[in-house]
Symmetry: C2
Subunit: 424 residues, 2 copies
Amino acid sequence: MQYPDYNAYRRRILNDAILPDGFQTAVVPLEFIPREIPEAGKQSMNLALIRLSEPASSFAGVFTRNAFPGWPVVLGRKMLNVPGIQGVLVNNKVANVGAEDGMAASEHLSELTSKLFGDSAPYIPSSTGVIGWSLPLEAMESALPDLKGNLQSDSLLPFAEAIMTTDAWPKIRSGKCGEGLITATAKGAGMVEPDMATMLAFFLTDVSVPRDAARAILPDVVDESFNRISIDGETSTSDSVLLLSSGVKPYPGDEAFRLSLMETAEALSEDVVRNGEGTAHVFRVTVSGAEDRQTGVNLARSIVNAPLTKTAVRGNDPNVGRILQAFGSACGRAGVTIHRDRLSLDIGGRRVYSKGTFHLNSQEEAALSAYFRGKELPLPSKKWPMHEERVDIELHLGSGNASASVTGSDLSEEYVKINADYRT
Amino acid sequence: MQYPDYNAYRRRILNDAILPDGFQTAVVPLEFIPREIPEAGKQSMNLALIRLSEPASSFAGVFTRNAFPGWPVVLGRKMLNVPGIQGVLVNNKVANVGAEDGMAASEHLSELTSKLFGDSAPYIPSSTGVIGWSLPLEAMESALPDLKGNLQSDSLLPFAEAIMTTDAWPKIRSGKCGEGLITATAKGAGMVEPDMATMLAFFLTDVSVPRDAARAILPDVVDESFNRISIDGETSTSDSVLLLSSGVKPYPGDEAFRLSLMETAEALSEDVVRNGEGTAHVFRVTVSGAEDRQTGVNLARSIVNAPLTKTAVRGNDPNVGRILQAFGSACGRAGVTIHRDRLSLDIGGRRVYSKGTFHLNSQEEAALSAYFRGKELPLPSKKWPMHEERVDIELHLGSGNASASVTGSDLSEEYVKINADYRT
């Protein structure tokens, strides 16, 4: 899809932002001075709420595998066991990771929110932002009551905008699911200012997916969507994907629900990659002909994460040697044998290596370079994506029938500049 | 060590460049036009030779684990079985990886060299440079005879300079070993122009290390030196470390030999990291208190390779949250449990995290930032390193008694610029 101007993008987003039945959202901004580093000066934060009309027993969550998770993640994992939840309370700017009394702070805010609305069920807290700072409890408590007056059920867009940190634009996708709807938003700015690069995603649906089905299907879908994107190979301390069902529409069955959820999740996860401020190309590496799918995933991820591949793509440089170098390196680490004569490499559908040798010539290089250029996004990033183009790289191992894809972003000077300059 | 000008560096290098007894080197430059991409125009290449006065039965080699190795690596592995070798023939500019008839080309050059000098024993070929191009056999054959007239036994410096590709300066280290000497050189420009980032290292000694001892000790030493540096987490298609002994001096015993070799290898491997044109800081991550050493190595390597750590170090940014984030991510992947209360993080000897919380304040941040600044190298790189300073980061797990260090380079805008602009 092409977005020649912000209005074109906004039309698509607004169309996708329709809230499923049974959901409301509210947003309130606040300001605070960080306790640990008062010299950092006044900071802006948003509180953003998703509220269900009735407590939902059907909800599911997938959290970061980082062994040093934020306190909201620790609490969120525990809360998966409660019989029902009322919604989600999100703040940006402070991730509440490694901060003193961080667990108590998240619990406290969750309780205050239930009290404010007179709800019997709890809210799952979610935080994203600087690691190490404490939540500014006093300022958050003062702002919280304003959420009540700001409730609306028109659009997910204000919520999607409020949870942004260094995201360049809001990200929303939705799709039909039987007679109902799945609408989802994610924040996550990829490699930019990485201690704010938490990926949070919220999937809202009005179809009455059973709790057990939600918990079986969400991890599978996340595994094939959000776990198939890779920006810098890192798992943040706060990554969370939550699914909430208001249950007011009939359930179309597991298969239909899984398909709808997958479609939304795939589109949204690619949006996350495209959104990195330093992202000039989105590229997808497919490893086919592998002995099993996990091998395909691991190898594809290694190539997507290799700085050599990333910078070649950035420079529109058809440096095919780098891709095979990264592939050989990954295979060496994984103990996967390469059969030189069966291996092939395609870029944008053009065969550049097969039968043991590269097919290199100037004409081919020019064609590949033009292909890369055609997929390029302008840097520095605009306030909306220009298009949804993607560079496709496929490696065929010739060893089996399994295949897997991983989607990532290139590595730009802008990324390094933003990250190196951050805070200093 | 400080090197205020090139002469200061050259004094150190010349002092280290003394050839052990029994070795000669020769260098000859040549020009060629690449067969595959003639539009690339005239290219410069060096042929560089190490020749032993007598065939050496004591030699050892450690080669890349990349599953897509260059032809010289495939041939070199086979040649480890011959009873004796006469030396090494190295070329830069073309790596001979994935090129048609590449194996035959390397074999042919090796044979021509033996014939030229009337030697009965073979030469191990070694190539570094562009992946995918064929060796320019005709031009190399024409230049080869000039090696004979250029033989000298004064210094390793001309050889060290001739094997450079995008290296900013030659790298040589030497140390005493009993009554003899170990002198070594390496080429490898780290993350710069990565399809030329092959690391080749040659260790020459005159002590009569037995063949079996050489082959037992070299892999161990490489594992704790060259395998403990990490520039971009990649293993090139051509990485090779060779050890040759002329055997004309007495052998001081395994322990003394191992120590000498380790000392030279550690210094030389850190030189390789410092040499990356995009390297503004060398930093070392130590993971202590691990349950076993391999866990320590894996975790330290993950942090060294994390773009988040790399850019923070680049920007002199004491963004301690990123380091713990990367550590948590690596622990999560490796299935290592973090005990929050036992974990501690020190940077440059300053404790920044312990007992479950960060110790953050403005004064501490300023001190850490000053520490990073003090270790910075100027960018763009000069033709010599300014100093041998290093940033030290230590994570203590509190789970056991094992510890391991990995040394790496930061990630700079210059790196991305050079790599993205390469060839286009």
